[in-house]
Structure formats: structure tokens, C-alpha cells
Subunit: 341 residues, 4 copies
Amino acid sequence: MLSFENDYSRAAHPAVLDAVVRANEHLYSGYGSDELTAQAKAKIRETCGAPDADVWFLVGGTQANQVVIDTITPAYAGVVAVASGHPNVHEAGAIEYAGHKVLTLPHHNGKMDAGELDEYCKTFYADANHEHMVFPGSVYVSQSTEYGTIYSKAELEAIAEVAHRYDMPLFVDGARLGYALTATGGDMTLEDVARIADVFYIGGTKVGALFGEAVVFTKHNTPKHFLTRIKQHGALLAKGFVLGAQFDALFTDNLYFRIARNANEAADRIREALKAKGYQLTFDAPTNQIFVTLDQPTIERLERDIKLGFMEKADDAHTVMRICTSWSTTPEEVDQLIALL
Amino acid sequence: MLSFENDYSRAAHPAVLDAVVRANEHLYSGYGSDELTAQAKAKIRETCGAPDADVWFLVGGTQANQVVIDTITPAYAGVVAVASGHPNVHEAGAIEYAGHKVLTLPHHNGKMDAGELDEYCKTFYADANHEHMVFPGSVYVSQSTEYGTIYSKAELEAIAEVAHRYDMPLFVDGARLGYALTATGGDMTLEDVARIADVFYIGGTKVGALFGEAVVFTKHNTPKHFLTRIKQHGALLAKGFVLGAQFDALFTDNLYFRIARNANEAADRIREALKAKGYQLTFDAPTNQIFVTLDQPTIERLERDIKLGFMEKADDAHTVMRICTSWSTTPEEVDQLIALL
Amino acid sequence: MLSFENDYSRAAHPAVLDAVVRANEHLYSGYGSDELTAQAKAKIRETCGAPDADVWFLVGGTQANQVVIDTITPAYAGVVAVASGHPNVHEAGAIEYAGHKVLTLPHHNGKMDAGELDEYCKTFYADANHEHMVFPGSVYVSQSTEYGTIYSKAELEAIAEVAHRYDMPLFVDGARLGYALTATGGDMTLEDVARIADVFYIGGTKVGALFGEAVVFTKHNTPKHFLTRIKQHGALLAKGFVLGAQFDALFTDNLYFRIARNANEAADRIREALKAKGYQLTFDAPTNQIFVTLDQPTIERLERDIKLGFMEKADDAHTVMRICTSWSTTPEEVDQLIALL
Amino acid sequence: MLSFENDYSRAAHPAVLDAVVRANEHLYSGYGSDELTAQAKAKIRETCGAPDADVWFLVGGTQANQVVIDTITPAYAGVVAVASGHPNVHEAGAIEYAGHKVLTLPHHNGKMDAGELDEYCKTFYADANHEHMVFPGSVYVSQSTEYGTIYSKAELEAIAEVAHRYDMPLFVDGARLGYALTATGGDMTLEDVARIADVFYIGGTKVGALFGEAVVFTKHNTPKHFLTRIKQHGALLAKGFVLGAQFDALFTDNLYFRIARNANEAADRIREALKAKGYQLTFDAPTNQIFVTLDQPTIERLERDIKLGFMEKADDAHTVMRICTSWSTTPEEVDQLIALL
């Protein structure tokens, strides 16, 4: 059975696993206070071109979203996101559990429009009753988005400009940041992200790690006593060095970007084939998530041999399904998939 | 200066105030454990035709919404409401502060459509990823709605039927229940509400009381240790008998409905006049809130003599304003208003 | 039946009630934005000798404690209180519901010792693991305390000094502040409280009002968007002017202090009588709460004619009971009580 | 430098690491829905002798405590624990962040006394004001405790009996369960724990795993929609199979207990040596945590060569330090330590 179900089905890149195995030869102090973690943070800061950045390692994406949004959003405020944003839809209410409302804007192929963000805030502050409402207190976007699309540098800068105008930090969810930054047609580097965003994370779980997300506060702007806040959320890993070892490997010799690029290349080939065979791509997106609108018979035929991901019902007869490549997808798997289309 | 700004500008109906003054002649035990409160509860139960109802008195509407929604909605779930619902828009995130997401449906002149509620739930449970999402756990509607419209008995029954099918209690916010039940063209009684809803409240703040909302759990279905939950929310009034005295007065000789009817009669007259003079009513609504879409010059002209309420911007040139009558509006005030239109 | 059960059994002082009745002659804007409320705030600021103070009106004591502690305590921190403190014992976990731990010190007749507070903080910051613990983030004391005792000016200043040294605001719960400031032997004025505390409240519920607590942030140090935070807690009263009217009356012609003094005078007489008759006073306290340790037969005898309050079991044979006077206690009631002892 | 700092300094037992490496050869479905996880759960159920047990894997100890306590404790209630309990002291307020108070009993060498638990509950329910207080809603104990001591079977049964009498589930924190169950003089098996407790967890982080705790609801008593609750807490691991692989290895051929026993044997030897050399053991405890009360010069001398753990100040001149062995401690390390004492 071929699987293009998601990008977190395989444990870890061999070099990452190897780093964990090698870490087993030493003893490390706990909670990320070790030298391996320090080294990984230094490499990330350097790759970000951000000597003033604070780097923290967390275990997973929803956890990172919850901890970051909760700590950067004032108590009287919510986080602004597009309606299709992961925290609004697929995190079981983790943000609301932490006491904050998710304030939603319409999405455009998964993306936020800077003008609409501006309009939202303008309307909010113009409302005579706004003190009875939830203030927009931070902005959440994902790069790449839930629909596999990416922001251009200009688009993200425009959002940041609006966010800062209304005194909101901009948070970029980078669960799939590697795939976004190595997509064909993308114009953004990690340095750009670190320059534009106030805080973002570099997803490891979906790009080669066993687990782990590197949260980067880009301007020494870590919320006060952040370690305590992490612990309070039940999110502090005792053996922090296991995270350090993995990110140290991912940020050695450009591994993170090399393996991310692999997923995009595989996806590009699949997209070509889909188009050639007349399939309907749901979104025009350049990263490792390909959404196709399929009728039921086609789904049944494909699922005999291929594990696909479910996205949503399109209408009574059609469903949006996801073909997801990853850092570990092989050319042979792509060949097999294309042959089955 | 004439004021039609809202329905909570005057302290209380004289009979209600008088009941409080008379209560001052006695000592009462605390926290609603007194006999005056017991008597008021008995009268409400009787008027509801619901001998199995549990009645609780809270101080205000947002408080009632927060306490009720928090206690009837499971921890893994949110409350379903229309997007224009008060807890979604004008309660400063009180529901999210209590840890629950507000799951929104589109509104139709402020009202929820039972079919759309059904569709929402069906889609939710059909989603392969729904365990990663916020379960619909309770249903919130308001009667009358934020736009002054009312549900017919059939409409509310249909919503209750869907809610119960998906194992959700139906909560009716009755901040303006008096106005809803005495509106021209309405077909529902308090008994109907008590029969159809699992929990609702009878708004006192906007219908003759200094403050106070009577929360009714209609079928001995009060959440466990509800008094403790109220206290935990900071919502337990020490001198509960002040609430008891007021509701005892409101439910003596049908006072609550008589004074509510007064507001609707005033509103009916104003609506007639508005239509006659060619004003554009924003919604077709029969209760004490009249929304009119006005251009800026008209607003400025009217606000020279009349305090109106702001609802929302309609477009660059127009604003939706509210003319709100209340239990205390006099025929003379209506005459003056009409003369100024 | 004579009642010395508590100090919130009678609705309100006639002058306060009268102010509410008079307020009924006018229409006021909502949520405390009216001129009556403004006037009451000005009078309080003046009596406090604190022109820079911000005054807010809330409905009840637990609510005030929850809203204030939640808004002044950082998210990574708890509030330090003595173990007998009201929020730690008798508020149904309202502080923890708001996400904060109550960090407890031993009490000394209900009071906190400044030296112990210092020791607690010193030990906390000296602990190598303190980032895994709850930071002391604010300090809560009550004046008078749950046991009727009061802090001297020097004692409260010492606590404030320690609190500020560790970057914690000092919050004084004044549910019974009137009784504390007019107690025989007390050396503190309202001005002193306003000078020493960062935030405190002047209790109305137990000193002549129907309900209401005046929260005073003494140095323009109101937490950001406090009105929104109040609303978020479900604690914003629609008819704020009902609070304004009451406090305006209480702070006219020194009424608040005059009626508070009445309770202490009654209590002083009762204490005299108790001592003369050989009763055992549980605490040496000068305010309106008198705690006596009684054996079961005495309790049964007294409760035939007098409603008393239950405090706690002392041992198998004895119970600590409370005799509570109030602003409304009459000399005749005191005579009757003494005759029954 | 020799390290006896803690039991989470080394990544993982080779067999556990090897299981993760082997898992890398396959693709697995996400969030613990894979067959490797199912197999690990089956092995745990079998070792527990509890065919009706539900097993869930979480990442860390504080997270497990937060998720379990939050989901088993009613909203109106707190969790009863001894004052020295980990959630009360060293979890940064994670329980209060989740809205629950930790209700504390005194500890006896880290342990709860069943009689005191009974007394606490009896007093609570006898208190006339208990509805204004936090109900005792669940019971938390740790096996082994924070001081390395263990409960006998009879002691734990007594606590369970009291807990159930007051309608509280008993939760056993087993972060170091392996060490507790293989301690010299212990009389409890994993089956006993599964029989006595309502929910407990088997700590992996401190007993051979990279990370991971196996939460066991012993009687098909998993809280409703527990997966959603886990996600809501940000605690759902995408690659759940990495947890499955590790626990599958730990529960193959009795590995978990064999490696736990190693730590206790090392600790027994160290204890012997300490006693022989006249050191003062702070607690009489049989597991892998040895607490010694040391004067400053001794600490300085030892810390030249050995990393120790800080526990707490004993007095001005003495500090309680921890010598902690683990599953990975070698006989040679023990020899070296003893030579240095």
C-alpha cells in the first residue's frame, strides 16, 4: 500500500535519528539547559541571520500555537486568523481553552489579506461598543497555509505592517516552513521570516524530526518567564537535549532545506501528472500538499492502492482529498503514484 | 433630551423598587437562601407551568450567559450560536475566557435556522478529523434576538429537536424575553419556552428590574453543585433576597408581561411612523428594538434631540442606528419622537 | 428571633435606598458611563486624598477579588495570601478558576506577617528550581481580616515594602474596610490605605449598600482595558448608575464611616458583656465580627433565640461561632442579645 | 565529572532507541492510531492484568498530571494531594492554569495518610459553608513519592477506600513507578496498582524512554472524548507511533522492570556506603532517589567531582541534596561515587 496520507508518517530522517543515537553516549542536564541545545539554538540564530533571536524548542504544533498565542496575546484580546487557520479548525479549541477567542477573517486559498486585516481593525476601533468586544491582540498566519499555498515576501510584509500599526505581534506558524521556503516560485528566505515576523516556528515534526518545533522570538522579545509558561502548559520536555540533538542535525549542512526541497520536487511531479491526466486541483499551491477534488468512484479506485488524506466534502458527489508528499518521499513512490492515477 | 438609547437607562419599575424598599424592613439569610427568594421562584415556576423547573437568580446577562454556557457545555465542546449572537460579539470573550469556543452559524435577521444547525452537526460528525475539532456541545439562541426579531414556536421547536438529536441542551437567552413574548404576531408563551428549552433566562435588567436575570433549568436538570459554580464565577450575590424581592414583584399580577407589552406598543407606533415617513427599517422585527438605516445628515439631525443607539456601519454613507423603547417609555415620549422624525 | 448571623442581612441604609429611588427619576447611560457614577468616584477620590486614583464599581466581594487578582497577577504567577484568606477558603476556587494559584503563608489571627512574606520570597528566588514553580506575583490581605482583626499602619506598610521589593502589587480586600477603619484602637485612615496599597476596595455590600464594592487603583495603575476585563468576567453591571447612586450616598456627609462605627460600638458592648460573663473570645479583635468558642449546650441554648454564624469546629466538644454586628444593629438588639447570653 | 543529578540525563535504553530506529523503516498513521501503538497498549494491559484498561500515551509527567487531573476532576472541585506533591510544588501552576485548586494535606515523608484524607473530607462536608468552598474531587498520590518513599499495598488500598467513599477517583502518578515497584521491601505489583487505582501512569521518561508516560484508565473509565481533551491541551503527539515503539520495547521481556531494578540496586549500595560513612539520610526511602542533609563544606567538596541535585535548604548551614541513580547507572559509577564520599 502506497501512502501519501500525510507528512508525519515516517519517524525521522536518518541523520536526525543518528544524532539522537549519538546523544545517548552522554549525560545532559535537563529541560533544555544542555550544551547540545545551546548549539542547535546558535545554528538556528545564524541561519536566521538574527543574532538577537531567542530560540525555544517545543514538542508539537498545536502545543506551539497554544503556548505562543497565549503568551503574546493580551488577556483582553484574541488572535486574528483566517477562518481556515489551524488553531481555528483543527486544534480542538486549544486557543479558547487558554482563554482567547480566535477572531476570523475570510481566507483566500488559505491566506490572509492585509487589506482585510486593516479593515477589520479599523472597524473594530471605530465601533462605539468596542470595549465590550474582544480586542484584536495578535495575528496568526501559517507559512505554508493549510491549503498548501504560500505568502510572498510582499504579502507577509504588508500583514506585518498592519499588525504593527495596531500594536499586534505577528506570529507565523511554520509547521511546514521548510516546504514553504523551498517551493518553486517562493521568494522568501528564513532570514526574511525572521525579519518580518515577531515570532515564528520552524516545524520539525513534518520536516525530518521525530518531533519538535523551534520557536523563534526574533527580537529578544520572549514573553517574561517563558520557561515557566511552557511548564505551566505541560509543554516542557524533561530531556530537552533530544530536541536539541534533532535541530542540531537539521541545521547542519543545510539538511532542513535539502529534505524539504525533496518533498516539493515530488509534489511538482505529481501536480504535472495530475494536470496532464485532467484532474481538478482544488487550489493552485506550490508546496507538498496537493488538494484534488475527486468524485466518489475515483476516490474508491485510488484508495485501493493509495492512502490519501481527507480534507472536506466539496458537494454531495465530490470530496477534496489531499495527496501529501514529505521529506522522505522517494522518486519510486512518485512513479508508482503517477502510474495509478 | 429625549432618550431611546436602550432599555436599561431607568433604574426600575416603581413596584419593583417598592418591593426592595419593603424588603428593607426585614433581615434575610444570605445567598438566596431566604423565603422571599423561595417565593419568587415558586411564582416563576407556576407562571412557567413547570413544577419541575429549578430557578436561580443571577445579576446580569453576560454573567448568565457565561455561567450557563460554561456549566452545560462539556469541556471538549463549544456552544453553537449565530454569528450575530451576543456571546459571540458583545461579551468581551466571556465564553472563551471560560474555555469554550463559540461555534458560529450564519444568522437570518439574527435568527438561527434549524436546518443549518442540522447540516453543521452532520458535517461535523462526518468529518474524519472531527476528534481534532471542537464538538458542538450546546445551542444558544436569544429570544428576542440581537436584531429584535423573534422565533416562532415552530422555529424554536425545530431547533430544539435538532439540538437534542445531537445530544445538546438548548439554551434560550431571554434578556428581552418579556418583549419577545408580548410582541404583536408572536405565538409563544412562557410555558412554551419552558417546555421547549432545556434552560433559559427571564431578563429582569431590561424589563423593569434594577438588575437580575432568572435562570430556569426546566426539567430538574441544574448542573451539579451549581451554587458552587456560580460562586466560582464570582456571580453569587450576597444579598440574594434583593433579587428575590424584585422577581417576586415582577411575577405578581402579571407585572412582567404588562410592562413588557408597553414597550412593544410604543415600538409599534414608532415603526408605523417611520414607515409612513419613508424611513428604511433594517430588519422586519416586532419587538422593542427598531433598527433603521440612516444617512449621516439624518443621524446628525435626529441626535440633536434624541439619544439613539449605534449598531453598526452599513456602508460609507449609512449607519444602522437603534431606536429602543422600554417598559418605562411613555406615550408622550413616543409622541415627541414621532414629531422629530 | 434575634439575628447576629452576618452583616449582609439587611438590604441597605435608608439614605442609600433613597438615593436609588431618586435615581429612578432620571435616565442614565449604561455601564457606569453616567454622571452619577462620575460624581461618586470623585467623592471617593477626594475622601482617599488620592487625586490620581482610578475608581471602579463592582457588584460583590468574590467578584472583586477575582477580577482584581486576575488582572494584577502575571500569568506565570500566583497571589500570596494567608491560609485563612477568603479567596483561599471561601470563594469556591474563583482564583484558580481564573488560572492563578493562591500561595499561602500561615496566618496570625488572620493576619500576614511581613517577615514571613519576605522569607517566602527569599526562599523562592533562592530555589534553584524556582522557574518550575509558581512565582509570587501579587499580595492579598484583608482589612479587617476573616477573623475580625486589623492591621496597624506599620504592619501594612511593612507588608507593602516587602511586596514592592519583590515587584508585587499589594491588594487590600476591604469588604469590611469601614469596620476596620472605625475600630477602637485602629490607627489607619482611608488616606493611609490609599497611600499604602496599590489597589484596594471599599466594601459596600457589608456596610450599608444593597450591593457593591468600590475598587480603587491608587496610582493611575488600572490594568489596561480594565472595563473589557470586567465584562469578560461577566462582572459589568448594565445599570452602573445603581452602583454610582449608592456610593454617592455612602460618601456624602461621611455616612460610610458613621454607620460602620455603629457596628463597632455595638460589638464593643457585646465583647464587654461576653468577657464579664466568662465567655472565651477566640480572637482578640476590635471590629464587628466577634468569634466565641462555645460548647454544644451553650450553642443550643443561644440558638433558641439568636441566629449566630458558624465558623469552624474547634474540637469534638467546641465550635467557633460568630456574633456579627452591622451598620444596622440597634442598641435594643444589643440589649436583647446581652440579656440572653 | 560523575553525574547523579537526576534520572533523565541519558536519552534512552539501547533497546528503546533501537525500537525507534526500527520504526523508521515503516510508515505509520498519525496520533497513535497505528498498529505499533496498539501492540504496546496490549502488552501494558496484559502486564497490568487488566483487560478492561484503556491505555493512552502522553509525552511528559507534568502534561500527564495536568491532562488527567483536569479531565477526572469535576469543574466545581479540586484535587487532593499532599503539600509536597509534584503538581502542588514543581509544575508551575499547571493544575490551577487548568482551573482546579490543589487541596493539600500534610505529607509524611512525602506520603498521604488515609486517615487524614478521611478527616479532611469529613470536615469539609460537615462545614455549613462547604458549598462556598472547593469540593475535594479527586485524589493524587505519587508512587514513588517526591522523597523517594513508597506506599505499601495496604496504605494505597486505604487511600483508595477513602477516596471512593467520597466519590473521588484515585490517580497515581507513576513517573517513577518502575523504581517503586522494584524497590527492596516493596509489596506491590503493577497488577496491584491497576486494581487499586482508577487511573495511573507508567513513567517512561525516567525509566528508559526518550520521553513518554503511559496513562492507564484501569476500568474502561476514560473520560469522554479524551483524545479531544488531549489535543485541547496541546498534548497530542503527531507521531504517536514513536511513543508506541518505545513502550512496546519497554514492555517486551520485562525490560521496564529489569532496568528499574538496576537503579534501586545501585541506590541500595550507595545508601549502605552513606550510612557506613556516617552521612545523615534525610528520609528512609528505598528507591532511586537518596536525599542527604549535607553541610556546605561537604557539598562543595562533593560537587568538585559529582553533579548532585538540589532539593531544599534545611537550615542556614545545611542543605538537602539528592543523589539520584537511574536505569543507566553502572556499577563503576557507583564505585566511583562511593570512593568520593
